[in-house]
């Protein structure tokens, strides 16, 4: 027994020593500089993005043996929570993939990358790094660079996995045999929502419990309909000079913020506490009475009804299983989830999927046109008057969410700027990652698209795109914002909307206006800066313009000054100094 005890003691001591050694090695005992890169493109063990990011990591570390690139993937659904806690607690990663709305929220925590974009990249022949990107400077949104005391406008992110002229989107995948059995032509899939609902009607005979497999996510489903409405609607609240081609995209979010926060009561205490100017109190919100609200809400309801019964509590796995088993003929996929779908099928031994009579086809989320409105009137979903009100504001053609500008990419934690050595590595890594040679390999490995000029789009991705209409994609479709920027009586717009559309309508809303009035909420007022900050930004741009002598650069600075000036005037005239309600023309 004694012997056993002594042996155990030695083993335990050895384990403890080994643990301590490993712990010290893991805790950065070496001299490598660690850069943490966070994305929502995961999980890394089951998506093709991992192959791409791994390639970036390995290639960079091969050339920079003193750097350790740590890849971190977090689910999209938890991303906002992680950013919120990360920035509040000072634990946010160094490099973070962010969407436009997330940048707006965390601007004060992000580093302005403008000076680096205007310098030459170490991995390119262009004079400036920004010129390597498709569309150059014009494809970037100029954003407020964060904190109130640093109001200058800047370029806040490095585009990645995106292309301003290419919309990679959700596609409907369908089982060709089941479609044909319903008397439909699988080679002629729907383009408009009228054709889509006609398909649904035919398929309902064989699939009375619903046609499309879906998970419990309400928001994404409704966005397919909501963002077919509100075509340039926010422009109608402002002077036409803010909607010209050269400034319209750059001022889009400013107009959005004003429409969605102006003229509300009840937030004076919070605004005072936060040291901000109090907006003018007034009547209901401008979007409450948008002319397309009734039609949009009814289409939303009928669209949700096409999903297989029970979807509200269905997991992703179950949804893909429903489609691959043939329980439903349709499912939605993106380039990323398509891979997961295939691997799900493979793991089930479903090698017959997508083969022979189980072949599949795909089509992009349809667009809503005038014929669809007529169809809805004919079906009794909406009245002729509601269709007429909505018609000027519908997409009418395939839309591009990118709107000719980059939307998401890598931001840099402002804290990185406090350590020059680390900052140099981060900038070098981002320039490396966006170099043409690396991107050409990356897009193939990651099954992605590139923001860099001249990098081809892989065939596997190009099929996940709507064909571009001759007169270009529809842009600035804002119908969904009335829902998504609010909270509502259930503290969750998806809950309230689902209840109104498919539930018991417990709040007793009589129509869409009542629903949207209940949902709209000026929650984002905190992201509007003090007027003095916009003035300061304008003055800064004026000074830059005055100091520029190069003719080409002068043109760019002139546009930047125009945008900064318009932005100041927008907030001054339509937010801080406006009286009475904000109305659509």
């Amino acid at each position: 027994m004694k012997k056993l005890r002594s042996v155990l003691t030695v083993v335990m001591a050895a384990m403890l020593a080994a643990t301590l050694l490993i712990a010290s090695a893991c805790s950065g005992g070496g001299s490598k500089k660690e850069i943490v890169v966070m994305t929502w493109h995961g999980p890394y063990d089951s998506t093709q993005y991992y192959q791409g990011y791994k390639y970036l990591e390995e290639e960079y570390e091969k050339e920079h043996s003193d750097v350790d690139i740590v890849l971190r993937s977090e689910p999209d659904s938890q991303y906002s929570q992680i950013l919120e806690t990360g920035f509040s607690g000072g634990t946010a990663p160094d490099v973070i993939l962010m969407k436009s709305a997330q940048r707006s929220t965390y601007l004060s925590d992000l580093l302005d990358l403008t000076p680096y974009f205007l310098e030459k990249s170490a991995y390119s022949d262009s004079d400036r790094w920004i010129d390597d990107f498709i569309g150059g400077m014009n494809s970037f949104k100029l954003e407020n660079s964060g904190a109130d005391d640093e109001a200058a406008l800047g370029y806040m992110f490095v585009p990645f996995d995106s292309n301003p002229n290419f919309t990679e989107e959700t596609m409907f995948i369908f089982n060709t045999k089941q479609i044909a059995e319903a008397g439909l032509d699988p080679n002629d899939p729907p383009e408009t929502y009228e054709e889509f609902f006609t398909w649904m009607e035919a398929l309902r005979v064989d699939f009375p419990d619903g046609i499309i497999a879906g998970n419990s996510d309400v928001g994404t489903k409704l966005s397919h309909i909501h963002f077919e409405f509100g075509n340039h609607y926010f422009d109608s609240f402002f002077d036409e000079k803010y909607s010209t081609d050269d400034v319209s995209d750059a001022l889009f979010w400013d107009k959005t913020y004003i429409v969605l926060t102006y003229s509300q009561e009840g937030f004076e205490d919070e605004l005072d506490a936060a040291g901000r100017q109090v907006p003018i109190s007034g009547g209901p919100m401008a979007i409450d009475s948008a002319p397309y609200n009734d039609a949009m809400t009814e289409f939303g309801r009928h669209y949700l009804e096409q999903y297989r019964e029970g979807w509200i509590s269905t997991s992703d796995t179950d949804a893909s299983l429903l489609f691959t088993r043939g329980d439903v003929p349709m499912y939605t996929v993106t380039p990323n989830t398509y891979d997961t779908l295939l691997s799900d099928v493979a793991s089930m031994g479903g090698d017959k999927f997508n083969q022979g009579e189980n072949a599949t086809g795909m089509f992009p989320v349809p667009y809503l046109d005038a014929a669809t409105l007529d169809y809805a009137v004919e079906k009794g979903w909406i009245t002729q008057a509601q269709a007429d009100s909505a018609e000027p504001w519908i997409a009418g053609k395939y839309s591009a969410q990118t709107g000719g500008q980059f939307d998401f990419g890598f931001t840099v934690n402002r804290k990185v700027g406090e350590n020059q050595e680390k900052l140099d590595i981060v900038i070098d890594f981002l320039q490396f990652a966006t170099s043409k040679d690396i991107q050409e390999e990356y897009v193939v490995k990651a099954n992605s698209i590139s923001p860099i000029d001249g990098v081809p789009i892989p065939e596997s991705v190009s099929r996940f795109s709507s064909p571009e209409p001759e007169d270009g994609y529809a842009t600035q479709l804002v119908g969904g914002y009335a829902f998504e920027w609010g909270l509502g009586p259930d503290d969750n717009w998806g809950v309230t909307t689902y209840d109104y559309m498919l539930g018991e309508n417990k709040h007793g809303y009589k129509n869409a206006t009542e629903l949207i009035t209940a949902l709209s909420d000026p929650l984002w007022y905190g992201d509007i800066l003090q007027l003095s900050a916009y003035k300061e930004a304008m003055d800064t741009k004026q000074a830059e313009y005055d100091a520029t002598t190069d003719e080409a650069m002068k043109q760019i600075k002139e546009l930047e000054l125009k945008i900064a000036t318009y932005r100041y005037e927008l907030y001054k005239d339509y937010y801080y100094e406006k009286t009475g309600p904000l109305t659509s023309k």
Binding site: F87, T105, Y106, I312, S313, L321, L322, D491, D499
Partner: protein, 340 residues
């Protein structure tokens, strides 16, 4: 409202209040300095307080104290302070008095959520008894070896995280492929959406606790039963006490101490419950699973992209803490242990 002067008079005047404060101070001193309040005038045993063995013991306890302070106390006090502040997205706090509490108490969602919390609260109390009954049955087993085997079997599931069990039940009750849904369809002729029907979800959550026997609590109760003198059982045997009477007159009263301990845990967990509800959450069952704990969570970490309302969460957290503490203190005061 009584005037302050009247209240002071009722408390025996200023002298009475001073005497009460002195009594509290003395009790506090007794805790810290290891003296006995029943022996007034005793000397403080400074050597014992600052002796080598005390210091060594303190050093052993130091890591626990430090981590406790950093990870429990500081966040707790920080939370209490911030309950009175508006906290913006950068983490800056601005004092706004009782505004957050006003928002909490005027929020209709809170009152709906209290109803759900009471549902789980009541059933959690009722469902404490299967564990007690299971323990007593096990305790009565004559063979120590068989008792040991059952004890091990009961403890085995402890190695599996409760999250895994919850996910397992979500599969079992799934609408499309859940075995329970299939079974219900065979029996009743229709598919029930156990996870998406607001009328069913609370019962579904309760059912997933089946057989409602908690391994930790079994160990606590069995420890209590093992500590009772054999003479008590012998006397009961001689008196011819039947199994039911034995349960109500001996076994149950004799483990009231352990029951109190478990009860405090159940009270706290029921009042602040949110994690299981979060696992089962979807848009259709929002109202049915919303508890004050889940409301607090969603205000700090909204599911949609709306800004977080930390002040509300801090205030509600403080309210739940006070309610939970009060109920725990009341249960300690009014649930009496039996001595044999």
């Amino acid at each position: 409202m009584k005037k302050l002067s009247v209240l002071i008079k009722e408390a025996g005047g200023k002298k009475g209040i001073l005497a009460a404060l002195k009594k509290i101070g003395l009790r506090f001193r007794n805790y810290i300095l290891d003296t006995d309040e029943m022996l007034p005038g005793q000397k403080i045993r400074w050597k014992r307080v600052f002796g080598l063995s005390s210091l060594i013991a303190f050093l052993f306890a130091l890591p626990a104290i430090v981590t406790n302070v950093i990870f429990d106390w500081i966040p707790m006090f920080d939370g209490i302070i911030k309950a009175f502040c508006y906290v913006d997205r950068s983490g800056e706090s601005y004092f706004i008095g009782l505004e957050n509490f006003k928002n909490v108490f005027t929020d209709p969602i809170l009152y709906k959520s209290i109803g759900n919390m009471l549902f789980f609260f009541v059933f959690n109390l009722i469902l404490m008894f299967p564990t007690i009954i299971c323990t007593v049955v096990m305790f009565r087993m004559k063979s120590a070896k068989v008792q040991y085997v059952y004890r091990v079997l009961l403890c085995l599931p402890m190695v599996v995280p409760s999250l895994v069990f919850t996910l397992l039940w979500i599969f079992v009750f799934g609408y499309n492929f859940g075995v329970m849904t299939d079974l219900a369809e065979k029996i009743f002729g229709e598919r029930y959406n156990f996870l998406g029907d607001p009328d069913l979800i609370k019962w579904t959550i309760l059912f997933t606790g089946i057989p409602w026997v908690t391994s930790n609590n079994v160990l606590i109760y069995i420890g209590g039963l093992n500590g009772i003198s054999e003479s008590v059982w012998d006397a009961a045997k001689l008196d011819g006490v039947g199994p039911i009477k034995k349960f109500f007159s001996l076994e149950l009263p004799l483990i009231v101490g352990q029951f109190k301990l478990v009860l405090i845990g159940v009270l706290g967990a029921s009042i602040t419950t949110y994690s299981t509800q979060l696992m089962y959450y979807n848009a259709a069952v929002h109202d049915a699973v919303m508890t004050p704990g889940l409301l607090m969570y969603f205000k700090a970490f909204p599911l949609t992209t709306v800004p977080a309302d930390y002040g509300y969460s801090y205030a509600l957290g403080l309210v739940l803490f006070v309610v939970s503490l009060t109920l725990s203190l009341l249960s300690m005061k009014f649930v009496k242990s039996a001595d044999y």
